[in-house]
Amino acid sequence: MSGTGAGRRVLLQGNEAIVEGALAAGCRLFAGYPITPASEISELMSLRLPAVAGTFIQMEDEIASIGAVIGASLAGVKSLTATSGPGFSLMQENLGFACMAEVPCVIVNVMRGGASTGLPTSPAQGDVMQARWGTHGDHPIIVLAVSSVADSFEITVHAFNLAEKYRVPVIILSDEVVAHTRETFVLPGPDQVEVVDRMRPSVPPQWYKPYADNSRGVPAMAAMGDGYRHHVTGLIHDESGFPTQRGDEINALVRRQFRKITNGFFEIQMTRSFMMEGAQVAVIAYGSVARSAKRAVRMAREQGIDAGLLQLVTLFPFPRKDVDQVLRQCKAVIVPEMNMGQISREVKRVNRRCRIITYNRVDGQLITPEEIFEELGG
């Protein structure tokens, strides 16, 4: 491996880059269960974590995996789990706990074809709505999509930072293409990436209210064992953390949990514009499909078609401000997805000022640039 400055130029798979990103972000516990196409994350974590005084554990299933991840985070250790569709389904229950108890953690879902066992070794994007709404009840959540090896590193760091800053579980949606594509990439040195940590209480233990509101809507979080004894529950609770059935307290909790994400919307909303200047027709895409879209847009521009791309990195909270601008600017928008139409519904919900064309592929193959190019009028 050749060194370039403080970073190293390396050839990594998307899954491996997620591990590097997690370690750089300060993740020190991984709990997981084997599943294709996410297992490389487990395997590499089992090798890397013990060397940095971290802990790897293979649990008995995905329910237990996310349980251990939540437990570790409650004890103050940043933690990660990684899975694919079937395992992600099993995680939904405890994912809701992490939302309710506001436990920062990161869950990677390397999407494969579904439903059910589906297509274990082929890519898909069918879990987008599950990532947003998979666990029951109203809950805040952040969902990010990666499209390359560099993304897999950077977005993973960012996912941990957002989780810590907002005390929410953050879901990273990768897919089989991104997960298994190897690309060269300059791996930053340990001190080159910004790392955000949760706010800890600055008051003495007897004054500590684990779910007290503040201007940001994100309460300070004490680690178990630090002397701030408190109660953590999946029940609706008051600001002391104890179960409540009082309407005013229920309302305060649920609305604060939504408010903290709304407050941070512009920081959380991440998109990338490509050739959008003067674009009359645009592609809105995410994950590996965004790469095909980028090429399709280049091809279209060469043919004199005023095409552009808005790549969504944040999927939820849905980046409606950026999407709104594109819908106002263009005559038509194409939303290609490796599913039967999921993000396209969110796009349509923003406004209907322009024609919105869905393009769907569910045969376990990545949508090609030519397919999108044709939709662009090429």
Binding site: A51, E60, A75, G225, R229, H231, F242
Partner: protein, 281 residues
Amino acid sequence: MERIEQLRHTYLRHDKKFPHVWCPGCGNGIVLGSLIRAIDRLGLTQDEIVLASGIGCAGRMSVYADFNTLHATHGRALTFATGIKLARPELTLIAVMGDGDATGIGGNHFIHAARRNLNMTAIIINNQIYGMTGGQYSPTTPYGAHAATAVFGNLEHAFSIAELAVTAGASFVARGTVYHVPELDRLLEKGIAKNGFSVIEILSNCHTQFGRRNQMGDPVTMMRWLKEHAVPAVKAGDLAPESIEGKFTIGVLVDREKPDYLKEYERVRAEARQKAAEAKP
């Protein structure tokens, strides 16, 4: 009496948590009392104890006790506890569960936790019924017993929780009842002190949901049943098989030394550090 006042004052949470949700005469309170006395006798501080619980009547215990407490999802208390223990090995982990919680929905986690042998204590309050949801039959409801979903008698056969834990590999396994309280205190003390995965199954009374449907509608009748059906484990071997038919053993069933998971993991860390150092250019 003064001592009890003091324990109550030290270990129970005072504001907004009482009255508790349990029925008058419920065995859960006896278990909580026993647990507090055991912890007090072991001299552990409240800050170093994590009390995790699942869902159901037993699961509500965590809210009343003044430790680091966690009220997890149904059946998953041990998975959360595993994460906490791995992150902060110096903490003392105690998980309180019910029979349906630990051996129904959480059965898989229970046997694997026993196999893995992390140093923590699982307390399973076995009242042979799903109480909080209204008396449906559980994995420990006896064959033929009546429940809200076994109106014509239970067709399924009960798990024997302590024996299951022995087979699954727990380091320490004991069974007690809410009638034999001084012994329960000692069993909990031993279990918490044990380095390894400990299981204490506690037979308890749910006269409201189980008793009422099975001709034992009050706590005293159920306590009498526990008294009459418990056989000390140390004596069981000497008794004629027909005399212990339909009864259960109480006391320590297993107390054995197995490698502690976290101690083993230290070895993994040392090897991994060495391997990483060698790989550096």
